[in-house]
């Protein structure tokens, strides 16, 4: 069964399940190749789909050589706007959550390079590929607009996923006027692509009016509604199987056109159809991190306290849909300032619609904010850590709400201690290694919201005292198979080996969205609650049964531990789950649970994970090649369910920060608008040699308000803080402030020619 994994040995348990650094349950399957990813499915009679993608950025398709494609041996069908069967909704309808205006061959317009313009279905992948090539599209092209300066900006109605574009408090100009020191600086971040290892894929098979989809998905149950909407069938007629995702990073949460077309092709042809994107096809239809320009003005009083902080972002989006990178929101909740302004503008370009990409808004916003804070600290004549402490926010600056918990001071202290920050000279170009390389130290604060969504789960106690727990969770590699299982076992008071965990299948209770770093908190709360519910029912049976040693303990209470219920006042009086069930003649006892935030806490508190990242870089003084040589990150993110997996997430985020700071950038040809480095050879992400020894410190934090379990999230926060820390370290090494990411040789070379 694809929605369960048997437990490998070696997960020794000491005490409770949560808090243990258990290894991944899916690890062995993955390293042995036994894990089945979507594209590994080959149902009988399956056909292969390949799309032709536009090579212009704006205009119209004027011809497609459908005959040539159809004549190619093995080609079964060519789907174009001319013959595409009807769909139940139009792309503009957007009747389901997170619906984007997508391409489903609705007409012949081209809105960005890489847009699907036809789908060829064939008996083999090779035939479909060649068929797509033989379509040899011709176009009527208009001038592509792919740079900020190609268009005027506008004021968006909302940023990110429905957030207000403007938030202001106090008077910025007055704050600046009374400041003793001021800075103003602008930064630029480029378009970046998710580049998950596993390309997007879909295997669709119909059975009457029911369809089964093997596709990597970050929100299984929600997506059944989306696909149901496109095909006019109820959500329960759609089954999505997504036991594993080879990375998602936000790009597998949103339905895109190629998926809908695959399902349509399977329906049209009455056979299962598989569609897997080529790497280059992932640069366009499946979202990206939009480019930003971010301008800051800050003023500081004589003590180095902020008197004003203004953050204005211009983000790129497509011509037909809004996803505005909410970068200025990074300034809402971090540094105290009596005057605070965060605003957004947007620019419509002939590009695919951006979307959420690991730490959307926060990553780009933090990169710029933390760089600007470094500049402000220098202007104030203060050490960057001291400057941050002087501007430490005791309540959330924009909303004035208290934090549910905020151990950022401890993060600063523990990170700085580990890194040796106190030895940092204030001025740049003060340190060299013994090979003569420039050495610099920089830091950044990490911040990420701790949201919760909605999730449900079921727990079933079995006659033998073991249990089954179920939720449609999504494991993108972050470790949900393991961490959620740990929480579920604790809810039941069982050893994890006694608990069977089902996930990754839309037929299970809705596990919510694996996104926003909220999956463990949300699905975990549901699982824990389901376990508690089952235990409560079991307790009812025991305390009302005269034959039980727990009889009459209803008011005193019992605790569930190691598969037994114990009297709270006398733990020596206990009985096993199996015994209680057997006597009651109950073979299975079910419990249900929900995960969601308590609305009153949500209203009352600002909820965030925090961290402090310290970076050391080395720069060759003449050749200007840069390498990060040390990274220390200290993070406070509530209760840590599995320190091994949490540290891995944080390492991964920090490594992503290296890529953001130094490497990642989609390069558009300014004339055609095509992305010229749409492959992993030329779109650079860090390789092992770029990754230095790293330390992650998990700082204790007890958050009583985020949820009953005190869980926040660690999936995205690692990028924040890190990018700025690296940029600041480069300045500290070289004395050169580069305000355009990624920071590379060319920028430093220009400033160091005069030696």
């Amino acid at each position: 069964m694809s929605d369960t994994i048997s437990l490998p040995g070696g997960n020794a348990r000491f005490g409770s399940n949560s808090g243990q650094p258990m290894t991944r349950r899916d690890g062995v399957l993955k390293v042995t190749g036994a894990a089945t990813f979507a594209a590994d499915n080959h149902p009988d009679g399956m056909l292969y789909a390949v799309t032709a993608n536009a090579t212009i950025s704006r205009g119209r398709v004027t011809s497609l050589n459908v005959e040539a494609a159809k004549a190619h041996p093995g080609v079964v069908e060519v789907i174009t706007p001319a013959n595409r069967p009807p769909l139940a909704i139009t792309p503009e309808a957007k009747p389901y959550p997170f619906a984007f205006n997508i391409e489903v061959l609705q007409d012949d317009t081209v809105r960005y390079a890489g847009q699907e313009i036809a789908m060829v279905v064939a008996e083999t992948l090779e035939a479909a590929t060649e068929g797509a090539r033989l379509l040899a599209p011709t176009y009527e092209a208009e001038t592509a607009r792919v740079g900020f300066d190609d268009v005027d900006s506008f004021d968006p109605d909302a940023v990110g996923v429905g957030a207000p574009p403007v938030a202001e408090k106090g008077d910025i100009d007055a704050g600046l006027a009374k400041a003793v020191n001021r800075i103003s600086a602008s930064y630029e971040t480029p378009a970046q692509y998710h580049n998950a290892m596993e390309p997007h894929a879909m295997v669709a098979q119909w059975d009457g009016d029911r369809v089964t989809l093997d596709t990597p998905n970050q929100a299984l149950v929600m997506s059944t509604g989306a696909f149901g909407a496109w095909f006019g069938i109820p959500p329960e007629n759609v089954t999505i199987r997504s036991p594993f995702l080879g990375g998602g990073f936000g790009s597998k949460a949103i339905v895109f056109g190629g998926q809908v077309l695959t399902v349509l092709a399977a329906k049209m042809l009455g056979r299962p159809v598989k569609y897997a994107l080529r790497r280059d096809q992932m640069y366009g239809p499946v979202g990206h991190r939009g480019a930003t320009r971010q301008a800051f003005r800050m003023g500081m009083d004589a003590e180095g306290k902020l008197t004003a902080l203004e953050h204005l972002t211009t983000s790129t989006t497509s011509t037909f849909e809004d996803f505005i990178e909410p970068a200025s929101n990074a300034s809402h909740d971090l540094y105290a300032s009596p005057a605070l302004s965060s605003r957004h503008k947007a620019a419509r370009l002939d590009i695919g619609t951006p979307g959420p990409m690991r730490a959307p808004g926060e990553a780009s916003g933090s990169a710029a904010l933390e760089s600007a804070i470094d500049e402000a600290a220098l202007a104030a004549g203060l050490d960057p850590l001291e400057f941050r402490l002087r501007n430490y926010a005791e309540t959330a600056p924009m909303s004035d709400k208290p934090y549910s918990a905020k151990a950022l001071r401890e993060c600063y202290a523990q990170g700085a201690e580990k890194f040796g920050w106190s030895k940092r000279p204030m001025q740049p170009r003060q340190m060299k290694d013994d090979a003569g390389r420039l050495v610099g130290w920089g830091m950044g604060t990490a911040l990420f919201p701790a949201p919760m969504f909605q999730a449900k789960a079921k727990a079933t106690l079995r006659a033998d005292g073991s249990a089954l727990v179920e939720t449609a969770g999504a494991d993108m590699g972050q470790g949900a198979w393991t961490a959620l299982h740990q929480i579920a076992a604790d809810g039941l008071g069982l050893d994890i080996a006694q608990v069977e965990f089902h996930s990754g299948h839309s037929g299970l209770p809705d596990g919510g969205i694996a996104g926003g770093s909220g999956h463990t908190a949300t699905a975990g709360s549901a699982l824990h609650a389901a376990g508690k519910d089952a235990i409560a029912k079991l307790t009812e049976l025991a305390v009302n049964d005269e034959a039980s040693p727990l009889f009459g303990a209803g008011n005193i209470g019992v605790t569930a531990r190691d598969g037994r219920l114990h009297r709270a006042d006398d733990p020596s009086r206990s009985e096993s789950y199996g015994e209680i069930l057997a006597r009651a003649g109950v073979s299975e006892l079910g419990g249900e649970g929900q995960g969601a935030r308590d609305p009153s806490s949500a209203e009352e508190y600002a909820m965030f994970s925090h961290g402090a990242v310290f970076a050391e870089v080395k720069v060759d003084p003449e050749l200007c090649q840069i390498r990060v040589s040390r990274l220390v990150g200290a993070f406070a993110a509530g209760r840590i369910i599995n320190p091994r997996l949490a540290a891995s997430q944080l390492y991964g985020g920090m490594i992503w920060g290296i890529g953001f700071a130094l490497l990642e950038e989609a390069v558009h040809d300014r004339r055609s608008g095509r992305i010229m480095n749409a492959n992993l050879a030329e779109y650079h992400v860090p390789v092992n040699a770029d990754v230095p020894p790293m330390d992650v410190i998990l700082v204790d934090e007890d958050d009583r308000y985020v949820n009953a379990l005190g869980i926040k999230g660690v999936g995205e926060i690692g990028i924040t803080g890190t990018v700025g820390a690296i940029a600041n370290a480069i300045w500290h090494a070289t004395g050169v402030r580069v305000r355009k990411f990624p920071i590379g040789i060319e920028a430093l070379l220009a400033e160091t020619s005069a030696h």
């Binding site: 041996p73 060649e130 003449e622 490497l663 300014r670 480095n677 040789i745």
Partner: protein, 352 residues
């Protein structure tokens, strides 16, 4: 991918005969060719797989002291051959700085010599490219060309040759052994590659159907073994092509450079040997001034082909550094990060 015929010849003669048909291509490990075929950049209608040919996989010391490397020797195998890397350490260093471990394990040295440019417009069939489609134009000009050529380019093509291996071979006067319908011939690597001129689609002196059977390094090149280095500068620490690279080899006697060799990578459509820089160094002591003078000489004719003027300044610094590294002596062991500016120990930080 188009339908194509796959042929697996059992002798060089058979391979050459098979390649007589137009539209044929030799297949080494395919790490470059198959990518280009999948991208629709080239679509040969028959592939002649060389990897099963006998006798092309040997590394031999010839009686005259030169070394002969069969065209099918894997990049990694050559770099890790002890006798070879002792005699030609900069070649080994260049090899190990290229691609990734997986690619080096697969790729053949013949294929490395013949790999195509990484110009993004060449790789994109929707772009105009004189190299891919003679006469269609060059979209790299006026486009994204920060990585393009600064030496030897023409108005028809501004691409660069991507190989690291060939740069070191060029510095050390390697020759290429070629076999064709008309028999065997040897061509110095310095004459093997053609600059683009008006015919950028013609890249080497190989005639249709000719095959590279071996690469030879002369015995006298081993005279530089004590002072030779390869230096490769790029944004990503590994697994990236060079922005600029240099292979430098020196013969130093009594504190004087008696002979110098210098070849550059990432700057032109061929590995660029700089006779001017070599001449500038002869008879000087190995000092920073001498190296900077050589660097100036190496780039005297350089001019940007687009937004890549920075590569000229970078190139000069790479040359001066590579020469200084060569003068300091070939390291005892291959650095953990071959050819990298971060190759040497990253030791303790000294506050200065």
């Amino acid at each position: 991918m188009n339908l194509f015929e796959y042929i697996r010849p059992t002798s060089v003669a058979e391979a050459i005969a098979a390649a007589g048909e137009p539209g044929s291509a030799y297949l080494g490990a395919g790490t470059n060719l198959l990518d280009l075929m999948k991208g629709g950049v080239t679509s040969p209608n028959r592939l002649i797989d060389l990897t099963h040919l006998p006798d092309l996989g040997k590394i031999e010391q010839l009686p005259d002291g030169s070394m002969r490397i069969g065209a099918l020797v894997k990049n990694a195998a050559l770099a890790h051959d002890t006798a070879f890397s002792k005699a030609y350490p900069a070649v080994a260093e260049a090899l190990l700085s290229g691609a990734s471990a997986q690619l080096r394990n697969a790729a053949t040295v013949g294929g490395n010599l013949m790999q195509r440019t990484r110009c993004a417009y060449f790789a994109d069939p929707a772009s105009a490219c004189n190299k891919r489609e003679p006469g269609s134009g060059c979209d790299a000009i006026g486009g994204e060309n920060r990585h393009h050529a600064i030496l030897g380019w023409s108005e028809s093509c501004i691409a660069t040759h991507p190989s690291d291996f060939c740069v070191a071979l060029t510095a050390l006067d390697a020759t290429i052994e070629i076999e064709g319908a008309g028999g065997r011939r040897e061509v110095p690597i310095t004459d093997f590659y053609l600059l683009p001129g008006d015919t950028p689609h013609e890249e080497t002196v190989l005639e249709a159907g000719e095959i590279i059977v071996a690469i030879k390094l002369p015995a006298n090149a081993a005279g530089f073994a004590g002072h030779q280095r390869y230096l490769k500068v790029r944004e990503r620490t590994s697994y990236a092509f060079a922005l600029v690279s240099a292979a430098a080899a020196l013969e130093i006697e009594n504190g004087t450079i008696t002979e110098a060799r210098l070849a550059l990578g990432g700057v032109a459509m061929k590995p660029w040997r700089s006779a001017a820089a070599e001449a500038a160094l002869a008879g000087l002591s190995p000092t920073r001034e001498a190296f900077e003078k050589a660097a100036e000489a190496a780039f005297a004719d350089a001019r940007p082909s687009g937004e890549n003027a920075y590569k000229i300044e970078l190139g000069k610094r790479v040359v001066a550094r590579a020469l200084a590294m060569a003068a300091a002596g070939t390291p005892e062991r291959m650095p953990a990060l071959p050819a990298s500016p971060f190759a040497s120990d990253t030791g303790a930080i000294a506050h200065v």
